[in-house]
């Protein structure tokens, strides 16, 4: 039921059709960029640039490689941003997409801090800013279409389908050509698994993909939040109890003092 995308970097030709298709489908404005010594542009994902191709030149085992990597929201299975958002503006859909509802958001930007991949971007140039990130073309999916980037990709580097099927396919690709791939499907288990998964011919750190824990990053938070009600109740009881004890102590002390005073006066 949960959809995913398998990105096979060995098939990607870096044509950036996906980058443009996303712009076109989401009708994003363009920004002014400079050539800083690379064909890669814009330099980062942003509120107007929901996906991009990163270009990495690397030498692996004596062979020079020019590696292309598509960056976009990973649509995690246990999204940190969904747990983080205080107003439920970010939601994990059953179909896999992590969607953002700007009618709920009030711009706290906690999701930006929470995301292990640093994906949510903010509209820094307007006084009424929203968060923007890849939507997994949820609107297109709801209409029976594939995401715009997947539809545009000429080589099939992007494959859309059931997440479980894609995992099986990825592993069979690795098994069929073990010299071609690093033996790892990135996103299968990272931070509890992501909808967008990656195959690569070079180690993932080469193009900036960190080694991440398998536990969802939401685990500690959810445990801590689970304690809220018990702590609230416990604290209320404790404080009430202590107050009652100290009040009685003070009252008893006062009574004793008054008795003494009374005695003293009557003496």
């Amino acid at each position: 039921m949960s959809k995913g995308v398998l990105y096979d970097a060995t098939k990607c030709i870096g044509c950036r059709g996906c980058q443009t298709a996303c712009k076109q489908w989401n009708q994003m404005p363009s920004t002014e960029t400079k050539n800083t010594g690379s064909i890669e542009n814009p330099p980062q994902l942003s509120s107007t640039n929901l996906t991009k191709i990163r270009f990495t030149e690397t030498e692996q085992n004596g062979k020079f490689q020019w590696v292309f990597t598509k960056l976009q929201c990973m649509h995690c299975q246990h999204p940190a941003c969904v747990t983080a958002c205080p107003v439920s503006a970010l939601q994990k859909q059953e179909a896999g997409a992590v969607t953002y509802d700007d009618s709920r958001c009030f711009g706290c930007r906690y999701c930006m801090v929470a995301c292990p991949f640093g994906i949510p971007c903010f509209q820094w140039d307007t006084p009424t800013p929203w968060i923007r990130k890849c939507t997994f073309c949820f609107d297109r999916q709801s209409g029976g279409l594939k995401p715009a980037c997947v539809t545009t990709c000429p080589t099939g580097a992007l494959k859309f389908g059931e997440r479980d099927d894609l995992i099986a396919e990825a592993h069979s690709r690795i098994a069929a050509a073990p010299d071609k791939y690093v033996n790892h499907l990135y996103g299968e288990n990272e931070v509890g698994g992501t909808s967008w998964m990656y195959l690569s011919s070079v180690p993932f750190e080469t193009f900036g993909f960190k080694t991440l824990q398998e536990e969802p990053v939401t685990e500690n938070v959810e445990r801590a939040m689970g304690y809220v009600l018990p702590v609230l109740g416990g604290m209320a009881v404790l404080m009430t109890g202590i107050w009652w004890i100290t009040k009685r102590r003070d009252e008893n002390k006062a009574k004793a003092e008054n008795k003494d005073e009374g005695k003293a006066v009557t003496k």
Partner: protein, 809 residues
């Protein structure tokens, strides 16, 4: 292309050379990726490690302009291997389908880089060219043992014996082991059942010997039996989406539609023209096949039908079918881009109409072009946007008050704003529909042409001079009913006696009873099973009906000729009509009913062994002698065999391979076009395109999303060269050649590496030519640097190899 895009997936080895398919033809990689998934190997030979190289199994660097050395080396390798291990090759194909066995004129001589005597202009004399023929020009003898020293095979072997691996590495800079690896893997496709395809683009064509570069591919592929089979062929990745259409319809100085020769001033009548242009069949003796079909023997039918479609009833047998109405060229004049600039500079051209082109940035030596335009009295620019040509008179650094040219700009509709067809590299003409109305006053080209022609007719109406007949008697009375659909029908042609569309070019006649705007496109418009008119270019059946699913998709659109998807497919079968490759058959002969199953068979007739004597048809029906030419004929300007020369501007003062420095018949422009020396400009420059921008950039530099991705003019160079010059990535740099200077942002990359050539280090830099002073994103034009020197046969400029220098700005 001999084959087509989808067919690439059938290849065992794909050699991409002089092309950056991933960046400039990204959809090609859909099929290349599939080929690789099926176990295919991708080889990329290119001066630059591009996005194509990133996907290749093997990347071999090469110095720009040394392709003939490289391919010649591959030919040498194959020939030697063929003699050692003939079972690894399809010797039957080589002997029976190519001119390997044919005996050549004993006067043929190759000395130190020259194929005979050249005149003062660098052209081979008629006497020299006469030796580039078979000993018997009507019925050439053959030696099927391929041992006769005068047979083509032995001459071929001798010619390329100089191209050993060490020499190749010395000239090209390709590491020797890398070169041999490429040879070994590509040669493996010579086996029966194996297929190797070659994809090439401007990196091969844009040289002073570009045509010979392609001839070299031809030789290699014929030796390997790769022509006519699935997954094989010589496949040009054409530089724009409809340049195939534009050449099919002769937007060229030397052709009429359908690649018919343009008449020249010596063709005083139709017969004289046909004597010159129409080839005579040549019948090789001693091969199993005994008939040379010589399809171009039908020349007269095609020309007459063309004239009937243009001049209608005014074209009759009495007036040579209006043949003399056609403009005739002077064979001594160069009418191509370089020639036009020269004529403009001399002031012999009064006015120029530039239709969907931008020569101010798109041609070589931009400063020369821009300067020459000032001599025009008037210039019309019909285009989607204002381009550098339309704005040449107010370009930076020029005082517009000194230029007297009157410039008219007519806005035109873009491709999705009009209906019509586009012919892709695979010869597939695909019909497209209008999606939106063009903005403002922009109109489709067809409408504009209609208005122009109607006006011309009106102006010439009362003129009775002979020249006026050219306009007055053209059949042109469409009025408002002109449409691409109507044109498509006229192009297909009619049987004028019945008014019905002709079924194919076999039905065209030379007696004036048929018309056809382009014989190649006969059969593109016909009738469906119900008798209703059917525009085959508009068909969209995406089911591959071919039994072995080799990707023919015969009912998707239509391709020329006759919807034959793989041409020369008669060479894909043995003499009995059985496919060499049983897993990927293109055609198979069915002797039960004497038909061919699969693709549209090339020419008619049974399989060779199953045909009657005199009807055993040779497979290469477009060649006069019916066999593929390892040795070219005397139609090539610069020799029957490709020979390695240096580019006009070379880092080497001496050609290591022979005593002849440059292609002797190169076209060399005389206006401006200063030549640089290696001492002053030691770096090899090459121009190219990227995915994100298009041609001179007029379309794409006005689109914000694309400009965001590629915002500025840039140049790519190696880390070593950058270190030498104190350049860091992102710096502004100046690149200079003998013809001018430009600014760009430096991209310093590991993807360029210096090469060791003839014992010295040679640097190469890569220069996109997408920018200009017009449009939203402005920058300097790469073509300011390039030289006005052209291919000996086609005049295509040598954009790909010249000399330059670089420094921090």
């Amino acid at each position: 292309m001999t084959n087509h895009w989808i067919d690439f997936r059938n290849a065992d080895v794909i050699l991409i050379m002089g092309s950056n398919a991933a960046e400039n033809h990204p959809i090609s990689f859909k099929w290349i990726t599939e080929a690789m998934e099926r176990g295919g190997t991708l080889i990329h030979v290119d001066p630059r490690f591009s996005r194509t190289s990133a996907k290749a199994d093997i990347y071999a660097p090469i110095r720009s302009g040394t392709d003939i050395a490289f391919i010649g080396g591959m030919i040498n390798y194959v020939i030697n291997d063929m003699e050692q291990n003939p079972n690894n090759y399809n010797m039957e194909y080589v002997k029976q389908y190519t001119n390997a066995a044919l005996i050549v004129n004993s006067g043929y001589k190759f000395t130190d880089g020259l194929f005979g005597e050249i005149d003062s202009k660098g052209k081979y004399t008629a006497a020299a060219k006469a030796t580039w023929k078979y000993a018997d020009t009507a019925k050439p003898a053959t030696d099927l043992t391929l041992k006769d020293p005068n047979c083509v095979f032995q001459l071929l072997k001798k010619h390329y014996s100089r191209y050993n691996a060490d020499t190749v590495s010395n000239v090209t800079g390709t590491p020797k082991d890398k070169f041999l690896e490429v040879c070994q893997i590509f040669a493996s496709t010579g086996k029966k059942g194996k297929a190797g395809t070659i994809l090439y683009a401007m990196g091969i064509t844009q040289h002073t010997y570009g045509t010979q570069n392609i001839r070299a591919f031809t030789i290699l592929q014929l030796l390997l039996g790769n022509i006519g089979i699935a997954g094989g062929g010589i496949n040009a990745l054409r530089g724009t989406s409809n340049v195939q259409g534009s050449t099919d319809f002769a937007l060229l100085a030397n052709y009429l539609p359908g690649y018919l020769a343009v008449p020249n001033i010596n063709d005083t009548n139709l017969d004289a023209y046909l004597t010159r242009a129409r080839p005579t069949a040549v019948y090789p003796q001693g091969l199993v096949a005994d008939n040379s079909v010589n399809w171009l023997g039908n020349y007269k039918k095609y020309l007459v039908s063309l004239l009937k479609s243009w001049y209608g009833d005014a074209a009759t047998a009495d007036n040579d079918f209006a043949f003399n109405y056609l403009p005739k060229v002077d064979p001594a004049v160069n009418y191509t881009h370089i020639g036009i600039i020269e004529a403009l500079a001399k002031g012999t051209i009064k006015g120029m109409w530039v239709w969907g082109q931008n020569p101010a940035s798109g041609g070589p030596d931009s400063n020369a072009a821009r300067t020459a335009f000032a001599n025009l009295e008037w210039l019309v620019s019909t285009d989607i946007w204002l381009n550098e040509t339309a704005e040449f008179w107010k370009r930076p650094g020029v005082d517009s008050t000194t230029i007297g040219t009157e410039v008219f700009v007519l806005p035109m509709a873009a491709s999705i704003e009009k209906e019509g067809s586009i012919a892709n590299s695979g010869r597939w003409a695909q019909w497209r529909y209008k999606a939106v109305d063009p903005p403002g006053e922009a109109m489709p080209d067809l409408e504009a042409m209609n208005l122009v022609m109607e006006k011309l007719k009106e102006l010439y109406k009362s003129d009775s001079s002979p020249q006026a007949k050219m306009v007055n008697e053209v059949v042109w009375n469409y009025g408002d009913s002109i449409s691409s659909d109507l044109m498509a029908k006229e192009i297909n042609g009619y049987d004028l006696t019945t008014g019905k569309l002709v079924a194919g070019f076999s039905n065209l006649k030379d007696d004036g009873t048929t018309s056809s705007g382009n014989w190649l496109y006969c059969n593109s418009y016909g009738y469906d099973s119900a008798g209703k008119e059917l525009n085959k270019l508009a068909r969209r059946d995406n089911v591959d009906a071919h039994p072995n699913k080799i990707g023919l998709y015969a009912n998707w659109a239509w391709c020329w000729p006759m919807n034959r998807r793989i041409i020369y497919n008669r060479a894909a079968v043995d003499l009995n009509g059985n496919p060499w490759d049983s897993e990927h058959p293109v055609v198979t002969f069915n002797p039960a009913n004497n038909t061919w199953i699969g693709d549209v068979i090339d020419g008619s007739g049974n399989a060779i062994n199953l045909a009657a004597a005199g009807a055993k048809n040779l497979p290469f029906i477009m060649v006069a002698e019916g066999v593929g030419r390892l040795m070219g004929g005397n139609t090539m300007a610069d020799g029957p065999f490709p020979e390695a020369y240096e580019p006009w501007e070379s880092p080497l003062d001496k050609n290591p391979i022979s005593g002849t420095q440059i292609d002797p018949s190169s076209v060399i422009g005389t206006f401006m076009n200063t030549r640089g020396t290696a001492a002053e400009f030691p770096i090899v420059g090459t121009t190219y395109r990227c995915t994100e921008h298009w041609q001179t950039g007029i379309m794409t530099r006005n689109l914000p999303w694309l400009v965001e991705m590629m915002p500025e003019m840039y140049v790519e160079m190696s880390e070593e060269l950058a270190a030498d010059k104190g350049i860091t990535g992102g710096d502004k740099v100046t690149i200079s050649s003998a013809r001018g200077e430009i600014s760009a942002i430096a991209i310093v990359t590991k993807r360029f590496k210096p090469l060791t050539v003839a014992g010295k280090t040679v640097h190469e830099i890569g220069i996109p030519w997408h920018w200009g002073y017009s449009g939203m994103s402005k920058g300097d034009s790469g073509n300011i640097l390039t030289p006005q020197v052209g291919d000996a046969n086609t005049s295509i400029p040598e954009y790909k190899a010249f000399l330059c220098n670089i420094r921090r700005a």
